[in-house]
């Protein structure tokens, strides 16, 4: 009896297990073999392996950096500059792609023929042209279209747009931290208020104008810091400076380089088409009966969309949209083509060239993208779970 049982186990459980273990073992051996072989070959050719170069002086400059950086900093710092630039363009891209995507997705379902058709054309055109061409288009078309510095497009004498970038005033704060704390404090109060309002509604059926009250709290608290907290704000306006007979540049203020604008524009326009299709699929995926049932209990159109359709549509929209966010982040590596200093251009480009450490640098870059993507996945999975059906 016992023996028979044991045999039964072997034939079912272990039979499945053995090939799996063997496969893992094989892959492991392969990896070890390649690693050792690579080390041997590099040794033979006099190429050293190591990450010591990260602390050496990079001795190259970068156009655009969110942190303090110049060539006297280390390669590790250059890596960080590139990483932050990648994150910056990804965040901007994801933000605009989402807004544009949702708008276009809803527009495609509009009853208005013109709106629906415009949205359809937008989607069909922008998702069917390779991204790199769109990046080149926005960059070089914009460069050719924008005026030279001396003839900048002037926005009320405080902001200027020209071929070298978009110059905006810089905020100069005094007691900025107080202002920041007041915003955080206001947000915490709003969260507590919303919870309280929900409880009141669920238990006693009381309705609060939550939106206006939250807005008021968010507005009043930070304003108070200006009036009584000694917070003040001045602007540094960019100023036109002549460098030589025909060379001008704006100094002061903040300059947003055209590479960033073109890249963010191309990435969000391209990705928005896919998000729009996800949104359309999500809304169409909610059965008609749901809407009719909601209408029959007297909900308004807005309430139907907000309370009945969207919560269900989101379950369909979120997983494929996560993919699009990941794609956008990885596509940002095309930045190198138009000189936006992202991690690929700065680290896997210039730093790789200056040091010649291809294997180390490519590994670090791959790991970085992997971690970025996994972070987005983790966040989106959490959000997806939050939105999932909760059986009661």
């Amino acid at each position: 009896m016992n023996f028979k049982n044991f045999k039964f186990d072997l034939s079912n459980k272990n039979k499945n297990l053995i090939p799996q273990v063997l496969t893992v073992l094989f892959i492991l051996l392969l990896v070890i073999y390649f690693t050792i072989n690579a080390q041997n070959n590099m040794g033979n050719r006099g190429i050293s392996f190591g990450f010591g170069f990260l602390s050496q002086e990079s001795s190259f400059d970068i156009t655009f950096s969110l942190i303090d950086y110049d060539g006297s900093h280390s390669y590790a710092r250059a890596f960080l500059v590139g990483l932050l630039n990648t994150i910056l363009v990804s965040v901007i891209g994801i933000f605009f792609a989402t807004i544009l995507g949702v708008t276009v997705g809803i527009s495609r379902l509009s009853q208005n023929y013109l709106i629906a058709k415009t949205a359809e054309w937008y989607v069909e055109i922008f998702r069917n042209i390779p991204l790199i061409l769109q990046i080149f288009f926005w960059y070089f078309a914009a460069l050719r279209a924008l005026p030279l510095t001396i003839d900048s497009i002037n926005f009320y004498d405080i902001s200027f747009l020209n071929v070298k970038g978009w110059y905006v005033p810089k905020f100069l704060w005094t007691n900025f931290s107080l202002f920041l704390y007041s915003i955080i404090f206001a947000i915490i109060i709003v969260i507590f208020f919303l919870r309280y309002a929900k409880k009141q509604r669920d238990e006693f059926g009381k309705q609060f104008p939550t939106f206006y009250i939250s807005l008021a709290i968010l507005f009043i608290l930070p304003t108070l810091t200006f009036l009584i907290g000694g917070v003040s704000l001045t602007f540094e306006i960019p100023e036109l400076t002549q460098l030589s007979k025909t060379v001008y540049v704006y100094k002061g203020g903040v300059s947003i380089i055209p590479e960033l604008i073109a890249l963010a524009l191309a990435l969000s326009m391209y990705t928005a088409t896919f998000i729009a299709e996800n949104v359309r699929a999500g809304i169409l995926g909610v059965s008609k009966g749901q809407k009719e049932a909601a209408a029959s209990i007297g909900l308004t159109k807005g309430q139907i969309l907000k309370l009945v359709v969207m919560p269900q549509a989101l379950r369909i929209i979120i997983p494929p949209t996560t993919n699009q966010y990941l794609n956008l982040t990885k596509n940002s590596s095309l930045a190198a083509a138009i000189a936006y200093p992202d991690i690929v251009l700065v680290f896997a480009g210039t730093a790789l060239m200056q040091t010649g450490r291809a294997i180390e640098i490519i590994s670090i870059t791959m790991l970085t993208y992997l971690s970025l993507s996994l972070s987005i996945s983790v966040f989106m999975n959490w959000y997806n779970k939050k939105m999932a059906i909760r059986e009661k």
Binding site: F34, N37, A38, N41, M42, N44, R45, G46, I47, S48, S59, F60, D61, I62, T63, G71, P130, L131, I132, F140, L143, R144, L148, V163, K164, T241, L243, S244, K245, T246, V247, V249, K251, P258, E259, S333, L334, A336, A337, I338, A339, P341, V344, L345, G349, T350, L352, M353, Q354, T355, G356, R357, A358, I359, I362
Partner: protein, 347 residues
């Protein structure tokens, strides 16, 4: 997309090749694995640029020409007997060294600057210099900038990423205490486009490169190259470390071209000079000595180089001077004529 993917695939492949292709030629022995493989394959694997007029540039039908290309052709003539037996691989600045160390190519002739760290640190060996260059600046003629001393804080400079140019630019502006905006593109074509569109006030790279790229501007006459040279850029062919015989073959293929010019031997008179009075010339055309045996080649290797590719002067005239890139030879003149081209004697 294309560019980026290609780079990654190449680097990926390179890493695999590095892993897979075993030991690359024992040092010290007369046997050269690279030479054997080249003979077996029937062509020389040569890495060139993605298109730099005068140095390595493909025409509409895919024929490569330029003084860098002539180095590859010289090696092919010496080793395989036919200068056309070369397989060219166009490489970006970023890809070039990985392609070489991984065995994707065997000679890199891609206007590459010889520096200490490149020579010593990453498994490469520079075999010589086939063009003495220096970094310069291009500006618009109407800009009112006539010298590098006219640069002021806030100037923006376009250049290529992955080159020594980026480092020299920083050294230069730092020494002048000028704050500048560096804009670095991966490909030269995009640098030209951006500079032409007015994105930057000046374009900086090797002066020969500036002269060549100026021809690509929408209106070449609007631009000029400033007189100053801010760096030393000795450009030359590179081989992998660890195959001393192959290294010698490439080095002496280049030296032969320069030495041939020095002794007045060129593609049309080479074979008739076999019974020359001058033993140096006789050695060059393979009528005296057993020089080829030292690399495992026959005795006419150098004659084939001169006959099929020409001497350095012919190559320079054809690709650099006659194309209008740099009519004046400057430092790239023989030492006997006031330049700095000086090669060890072939004997």
């Amino acid at each position: 997309m294309i560019k980026s993917i290609k780079t990654w695939i190449l680097i990926g492949f390179a890493s695999i090749l590095l892993v897979a292709c075993g030991q690359g030629g024992g040092s010290g022995s007369k046997k050269s694995k690279t030479l054997e493989n080249t003979k077996k394959a029937g062509f020389v694997k040569c890495g060139v640029s993605q298109g730099l007029p005068g140095f390595s540039n493909a025409d509409a039908s895919g024929n490569w020409t330029g003084i860098d290309v002539d180095v590859c052709r010289a090696v092919a003539a010496a080793v395989l007997g036919d200068a056309d037996k070369v397989k060219y691989t166009p490489l970006s600045a970023k890809e070039r060294f990985t392609a070489l160390t991984s065995g994707e190519i065997d000679v890199l002739a891609r206007n590459t600057t010889w520096t200490l760290s490149r020579d010593a640190d990453i498994g490469l060996t520079f075999v010589g210099v086939n063009f003495y260059d220096g970094q310069g600046f291009m500006v618009r003629k109407n800009s009112g900038i006539n010298s590098v001393n006219d640069f002021k804080n806030g100037i923006s400079a376009c250049t290529n990423t992955g080159t020594t140019t980026e480092l020299n630019m920083r050294d230069f502006f730092n020494s002048k205490n000028i704050k500048y905006e560096p804009i670095a593109f991966e490909k030269a074509d995009e640098v030209v486009q951006a500079y032409d569109a007015g994105r930057c006030d000046t374009y900086t790279t090797d002066k020969s490169g500036l002269a060549a790229q100026r021809t690509k501007m929408s209106n070449p006459d609007e631009h000029k190259v400033l007189p100053e040279t801010i760096s030393k850029e000795p450009l030359g062919p590179v081989v992998r470390q660890g195959d001393a015989v192959w290294e010698d073959i490439v080095r002496w293929s280049l030296n032969t071209m320069i030495e041939a010019e020095e002794y007045g031997v060129n593609s049309s008179n080479a074979s008739s000079l076999k019974d020359s009075e001058n033993p140096a010339i006789k050695r060059l055309v393979g009528a005296e000595g057993e020089l080829g045996a030292a690399f495992g080649l026959d005795n006419e290797w150098s004659l084939r180089i001169i006959e099929q590719v020409g001497n350095y002067g012919e190559s320079y005239k054809k690709h650099i001077a006659d194309t209008g890139i740099l009519p004046n030879r400057g430092p790239n003149q023989l030492w006997t004529k006031g330049g700095i081209l000086y090669v060890p004697p072939a004997r």
